[in-house]
């Protein structure tokens, strides 16, 4: 939704830990997944320009994912943090 550039804000009915307590995103980088029903990513940038990418594995098996050409292994049904870098 953020990648549409048309969302001012959102609220969540349930408390969700996005794992962002140590990272303050100010921008979203557009992403594209070749297999969006299997894996996808949220890529963010903080005020200092550091990047953090969260890769989610929607399947119940470990998954090898190429992130900008670099292979990452994402555990089953988990979110993998790549960065901040």
């Amino acid at each position: 939704m953020a990648q549409t550039g048309n969302v001012h804000s959102l609220t969540l009915e349930q408390r969700v830990d996005l794992g962002l307590s140590d990272f303050k995103p100010v921008h979203v980088l557009a992403t594209q997944s070749s297999h969006p029903l299997v894996t996808d990513a949220l890529a963010m940038v903080d005020p200092e320009g550091h990047r953090l990418t969260l890769i989610v594995n929607f399947t119940d098996r470990a998954l090898k994912v190429s992130l900008n050409g670099k292979e990452q292994t994402v555990p089953a049904n988990q979110v993998l943090r790549v960065g901040p870098a």
């Binding site: 939704m1 953020a2 990648q3 549409t4 550039g5 048309n6 969302v7 001012h8 804000s9 959102l10 609220t11 969540l12 009915e13 349930q14 969700v16 996005l18 995103p25 100010v26 921008h27 979203v28 980088l29 557009a30 992403t31 594209q32 997944s33 070749s34 297999h35 969006p36 029903l37 299997v38 894996t39 996808d40 990513a41 890529a43 963010m44 940038v45 990418t53 890769i55 929607f58 998954l63 090898k64 994912v65 190429s66 992130l67 900008n68």
Partner: protein, 390 residues
Amino acid sequence: METKSVLELRAGPLTMTFDASNAFIRHIRWGGQELVRAIYGAVRDHNWATIPSAITNLKTELGNDSFRITFDVTCCEREIDYFWRGSIRGDPSGKVTYVFDGEARSNFQRNRIGLCVLHPVEDCAGRRCAIEHVDGSREIGTFPRTIWPEQPFFDIRAIEYSQVQIRCEGETFEMEDQRNYGDASFKTYSTPQRLPKPAPVSVGQRVRHEVSVTLTEHPRIIVADRPKFSFPNIGRRIDIDLSRPDFAKALEHIAEPLHIAFTYSSEDELKKLAEAVKRIKPNIAVWLVYHKNETCTSTQSLLAARKALGAGAEFAGGTREWFVDWNTQRPPKDYPGMLAYAATPHIHQPDFTTMIENIAGLAHGPESAKAFSDNPVVISPITLSGPNLP
């Protein structure tokens, strides 16, 4: 070996045809999906005329899941004499490589020489794609849904969409929307239009292009290099019930900026809320204003709330339910606030798979809202556990 004019080919799971009359690879398909409309070589003169090609020395090696084709092409007309050798290879892994290796045999003026790739409009228009530029940077974009007057993408080295990656080596490529000329395709071509045309070609001058089409069986994620959008504020929402005499208690002792949601039905309720805000001074980021008798908050109702509550926070009006309410009761262009609606990935089915499938669908609300409003949306609340209408 001489063969019939159109060959049926297979490269692993990919199928396609080769037209020996013009050296076109056509309709690269994966199952029922057409990934690439065509790959072909062209020599075009200073008037954009395509020089007729004569194909000779065709050799084919056709396997059950692979192939190799080589041929010679001469393009001769008036002062133009151009020769290129083509080779096309299909691998069992699902990779197709088309090489154009050409050499001028005369001096002439050209607008374009080399390989072109056509992308089918039916499958590509409106589809997201990832572009790798010639400098290695990455861009995420979208094939235009309606006919685009300019080039959608420039300085292309590779394009990815669906589960296919197309690499274009040998020159700088860019894309045009061929629907401008009545064709049902986008075309990726070499020699950017910004360069001077026609360009002189001298005897012996060579062009070598290589286009590869690779089916991406293992998941690939491309992240654009540059920040494009602000990260939305993830707010905390509090709903207050103005019919309760103690409604103001919910506003007390809160430090973090809040999204305050309320439904009102009278000016008197607004007045009481304004008095409570003046007394408590809560930290308010956004007022989410609903009216008891309206599916979506009207301009008049939102203006009344703004007048009562004053400046200092942003205002959104809308529906406690779904995007459909805004889409069927679209706001005027001068609507005095942001557009609020709720969202959940499983209104119709509460299982995990449905939720994952519908993640992509959630982006269509804010995208579609651009068509009828210049104001951004506030999505509140997002409910993950299933519909729970307030």
